[in-house]
Symmetry: C2
Subunit: 391 residues, 2 copies
DNA sequence: TTGAAAGCGATACCAC
DNA sequence: GTGGTATCGCTTTCAA
């Protein structure tokens, strides 16, 4: 009796395929295929009939069969800068790790790297377009100058996903990034609470012409203005992500701000700022909140010199960006146009979780030594690694 | 010239399959298959030869072909409590969303729900085992009483993944949860900074016999002891996740702690605590940090009455748990035994990001209105939704 | 112990 | 416009 129940549960009716549709309509599978894919050479009436039936029986294509029979290879271009490596290497890893799972599905990743944000990105994008890529992940450093090429890509029907920073005014499939405004206001709130709502703060940013940087500043300003009236912004330093510029400008500002209570560094350029603080003798007394996480930052958080840093989750950004393109290409699903990740707050107490994962990041792939599962395939070279990065 | 380059790039040599292996060895693909899968009825010498060659040419099975030809259905059991819904519903969603992507790959999810943690979980697990599940996701409320059944499952070779809380002493494939100790010490650090390192704090927990709860308390204690010597713990209240108990016990404690500076609620049971604080007239003056996020908490964070809450990322927990089982079953990859997520800090400034996604969570699936992609399949019923939940 | 062949459910091409 | 069929790379079964 129980036995029978079990058997029944297993033997659910097979989902309808094009063969079933063809049969009930008394036509051939070739025609069904033409109808389902808007292929030329089919009578509109037949087409309509097929689509109606497909809809009615809830036809869903068997993707495994599709991948197997189709010779089509989707090639996804990943155009990202080399610097800042602590960030973009992890974006690449996130993409690579999820892409591996889909290799059998005919999707491959083609990387193109260039020196830094905005430096070489045009050439890289040109190369990708020349290469007839089917999908694209980019981090537009200078969206304005990239616009013509991006429009060309979009015009060709290529799904383009921006990571880390948006390309305002240029239509594209989706953007994945941390919510910059929230990032800024989050720091505002932390700063407000850490300082008991009193004191003057310096903000160090990159360049306010970059949307991302401006939004962080605005978010910070807004939070301060609305919630922490006794907190003031002593200065906003644009350091253009340059170490020397950051150091020099900060020294000047610090010299004229003896009562400094806090510093917010809204880009990854925090090391020179720390040096300037030290050289100014403000080492221990100032509450510092930074952005991003890289090895050199760890000891400073560990020692308490930096109170918190805002982690922008590069691995997850890559993961989501790739999935968006994959699902669009393969499954025909359009992702949300905007994917705003919530930034992580990293402080001394949770730092070690992030570091552990950063380490595993540089570890050899087969370190885990996959045991054999029943599937019995692991021994033939690891088929996929388990994503063990920071999420 | 350029043209030739492109063509070449496209025409990379086809990866070797069992057919190639069979050919070079002068045997049949049937034999190769037997060798690769440890199937009976094969000469050990042949077997060795096949394996050696497979290794040497870097053979990797084409999963699409495998899924297509194999009639095997993997059924993954998901045994989770109904309560607390704000948490476990999202775990289920995380599982469901990634599972959908793998439906064509012969993996299906079988849900079994029971009233609450530890209440009905034995029966549910028994049912799952009777049902001959191939993989299992559970949240062991009472690991000790679940132990025999879990061992039975593991003994049968079923990959078991625990979410939210561990099952210490019981061997299983993996555990996915927030790092409780870090969760506690993170709150300790926040509390220390928010209070300027001064004052007495009450901790409200569930039951210290639960590993998870104890670890949070320990993490909190450790952080306070090591870093915030002027911060004291006035009392630890065990409320057993019961509203009345929380309310009554808190009223008592609060009455005898007039100088209270902060409250840390380390489970989702924060509402009655808030009520007790109000009734005691301590509404505005106390710094409160809670755990988890659910609709009723939002206005309290918004208004600033709760300074921060620790979000345990249920959706991501589900996602990782399912992926661990999937990769083990299908790809033969063993995941890390322990997956400790970093808890998120949610405060007023980043709350809206979480709420936006909570809303989309209750939205109809086709709300986004998938546009057609070139793949041309979206119209036939959405093949997969884009995961839009909180990560 | 091994070989041969029939699927799996699509795509793609050729013939009518 | 439409039908038929080879094919993708593997699993599974039946014969030898």
């Amino acid at each position: 009796m129980r036995r029978r129940r079990k058997t029944e549960a297993r033997k659910r009716t097979k989902p309808p395929g094009i063969r079933e549709i063809a049969q009930t309509l008394g036509i051939s599978i070739g025609t069904v295929d033409r109808a389902l894919h808007d292929r030329p050479g089919i009578n509109q009436t037949t087409r309509a009939k097929v689509l109606e039936l497909a809809e009615r029986v809830g036809y869903r294509p068997n993707l495994a069969a599709r991948f197997l029979s189709s010779r089509k290879q989707w090639r996804v271009g990943v155009n990202l800068p080399k610097e800042i490596a602590s960030f973009f290497d992890l974006v690449r890893d996130g993409i690579q790790d999820v892409a591996r799972s889909f290799e059998s599905n005919g999707v491959r990743v083609v990387h193109r790297s260039y020196p830094r944000l905005g430096e070489g990105e045009i050439e890289a994008l040109e190369a990708a377009l020349d290469d007839n890529i089917d999908g694209l992940v980019i981090a537009p450093g200078r969206p304005e100058s990239l616009a013509p090429l991006m429009r060309r890509a979009v015009g060709r029907g290529i799904p383009v996903v921006c990571v880390n920073t948006d390309a305002p005014g240029i239509e594209h499939l989706a953007t994945v990034s941390v919510d910059s405004a929230t990032s800024g206001s989050l720091v505002g709130e932390l700063m407000g609470r850490f300082l008991g709502g009193e004191g003057r703060v310096v903000v160090v940013t990159g360049q306010l012409s970059t949307v991302d940087h401006l939004q962080k500043l605005d978010g910070f300003r807004k939070e301060i203005a609305e919630r922490w009236p006794s907190l003031g912004i002593a200065a906003v330093v644009e350091a253009h992500d340059d170490e020397n510029e950051a150091y020099e400008k900060c020294r000047q500002v610090l010299a004229t701000t003896p009562d400094l209570a806090g510093v917010y560094v809204s880009t990854a350029n925090s090391i020179p700022v720390m040096r300037a603080l030290d050289d100014q003798g403000l080492g221990g007394s100032v509450t510092i909140i930074t952005t991003d996480l890289f090895p050199a930052l760890a000891p400073l958080i560990e020692s308490g010199r930096i109170s918190a840093t805002i982690y922008q989750r590069p691995w997850v950004q890559g993961q989501i960006a790739f999935q968006a393109i994959y699902k669009f290409l393969v499954e025909g699903v359009t992702p949300p146009a905007v994917n705003r990740l919530s930034p992580h707050v990293v402080m001394r107490s949770n730092l070690k979780l992030f570091l552990e994962r950063m380490r595993s990041d540089t570890t050899e792939v087969d370190g885990g030594g996959a045991r054999r599962s029943e599937a019995g395939t692991a021994r033939h070279g690891s088929i996929a690694t388990f994503a063990d990065e920071i999420r």
